[in-house]
């Protein structure tokens, strides 16, 4: 069963192709950058900037796919394609929760 928080198969493959040490660095970069993307997403939603929102969601999706954070990537992709929709705030809450879970898992993997 593949874990949608972090798909281990994808994560291991990343380690294999890029080098485990480098992936540690990459995880740190992602965890440093992602809060800005989430903040940008919130701000864009609050001010109704569809294009900014699409861009931030696109970036999160792209990084989610890289680390195997499939749930995060899926939700970001939905935001990229259709925007926040009527339940914008709820969609963003869900996304942030997915990011929180992915973050924890990535930290475990990074340290383990």
């Amino acid at each position: 069963m593949r874990d949608p928080t972090i798909d281990l198969a994808i994560y291991r493959e990343l380690q294999e192709t890029a080098g485990a040490d480098f992936v540690v660095e990459l995880v740190d970069t992602f965890l440093a950058e992602a809060p800005q993307m989430l903040a940008e997403l919130r701000a864009a939603h609050a001010t109704g900037h569809a294009e900014r929102m699409r861009r931030a969601a696109h970036s999160l999706k792209s990084n989610g796919l890289t680390f195997g954070a499939t749930a995060l990537a899926e939700q970001a992709r939905a935001l990229e394609l259709v925007g926040a929709g009527a339940d914008g705030a709820a969609a963003l809450d869900t996304l942030e929760a997915s990011y929180g879970a992915a973050r924890e898992r990535l930290l475990e993997l990074r340290n383990g």
Partner: protein
């Protein structure tokens, strides 16, 4: 393994940027990074790169605009670009390819695929650079630039054009009568003058053998009035030789004489040779005929001879004398020969 190349990675997302650069470095390439299209474009203009890996969604200047700017920039238009994007939808891929991107890789980028695409793109670039270098060697800067602008059409194709052969009369005995250094100096002066005359009329010298040369008018690029251009170039060549002779006579050296044969018709033009050594050339009856006419100048006692095809396309201001029909080697039927000058 391909030689180490210098690649630029343009991506606004830091994780993507680092990961791509890492993949490329593991493949033995050197990399530089840009965090948006504008920075990437400025870097490309100030430093040499072999390839650009380009993201589409970027602030300041997006990937589409980078592609458009590269296309409009003469120095950068041949730079291979591989677009890497997680952009949704086929329309984006199509737009990138239409804007000149070599390839499109979806993100996350598969390292094996990346390696293969980069290898193919760099190989193509190497080939293109080599061809460009060859074009530079045989064409004037204007022709080389025109070719770069119009895109290379280097495969074989049929062209209607005019071929010229020229050589120095009695050169062998001249060589025997003077020191070797003088022969080389003479040849260098001679070629400089002849290239000038031929290029000045839009022709391209594509072969030099000893004291002989072959030039093409109307290929690789089409040339309006190629027959007239060739005959005018021949006139210029004769005039330049006369000037050279005035110098030589003043220095107590014998005058030199040249013979020029010109023929017009359809021919096959393109690159021939091997990967290591290739030349742009034309093949066809007109080529053989021009060579025979050049040889026939000795018999006819005229400097410039041409065939009926050239004469029929000639500017009315250029007068010719009909010398009659002659049996020329390699041609079953007698050939009408015309002289100019």
């Amino acid at each position: 393994m391909a030689d180490s190349a210098r690649l630029l990675v343009a991506d606004d997302n830091k994780v993507n940027r680092l990961l791509l650069a890492r993949s490329l470095e593991l493949q033995g390439h050197r990399t530089a990074m840009a965090e948006n299209g504008l920075i990437a474009f400025e870097m490309l203009r100030s430093e040499p790169f072999d390839l650009l890996l380009l993201d589409i969604n970027m602030p300041e200047m997006d990937g589409f605009e980078v592609l458009e700017r590269l296309k409009a920039d003469l120095a950068l238009r041949d730079l291979p670009v591989i677009v890497t994007s997680a952009a949704e939808g086929m329309a984006n891929v199509v737009r990138c390819i239409e804007l000149g991107a070599e390839d499109y890789l979806p993100k996350p980028v598969n390292p094996v695929l990346l390696k293969a695409r980069i290898g193919a793109s760099l190989e193509k670039k190497r080939l293109r650079d080599r061809l460009q270098e060859m074009v530079r060697r045989f064409a004037t800067p204007e022709v080389a630039q025109d070719m770069a602008q119009s895109g290379f059409a280097l495969g074989g194709r049929h062209v209607h054009g005019t071929v010229m052969f020229s050589d120095i009369r009695g050169f062998t005995s001249l060589v025997e009568s003077q020191p070797p250094q003088e022969t080389i100096e003479l040849l260098n002066t001679y070629y400089t003058l002849m290239f000038d005359a031929i290029n000045g009329r839009g022709g391209v010298v594509n072969q030099m053998v000893g004291d002989g040369l072959m030039a093409i008018f109307g290929a690789p690029l089409p040339l309006a009035g190629h027959a007239t251009a060739a005959v005018r170039a021949a006139q210029d060549m004769i005039e330049m030789i006369e000037l050279l002779n005035a110098d030589r006579e003043a220095a107590g050296k014998p005058a030199i004489r040249i013979g020029i044969g010109i023929a017009t018709g359809s021919m096959v033009a393109g690159y021939t040779g091997t990967q290591q050594r290739a030349t742009y050339t034309c093949i066809g009856d007109a080529v053989n005929l021009a060579a025979r006419l050049e040889a026939h100048t000795k018999v006819a006692g005229r400097h410039i001879l041409m065939d009926g095809g050239t004469r029929s396309e000639l500017d009315a201001a250029l007068r010719t004398d009909a010398l009659g029909s002659f049996a020329l080697k390699g041609f079953a039927a007698p050939i009408e020969v015309y002289a100019h000058g």
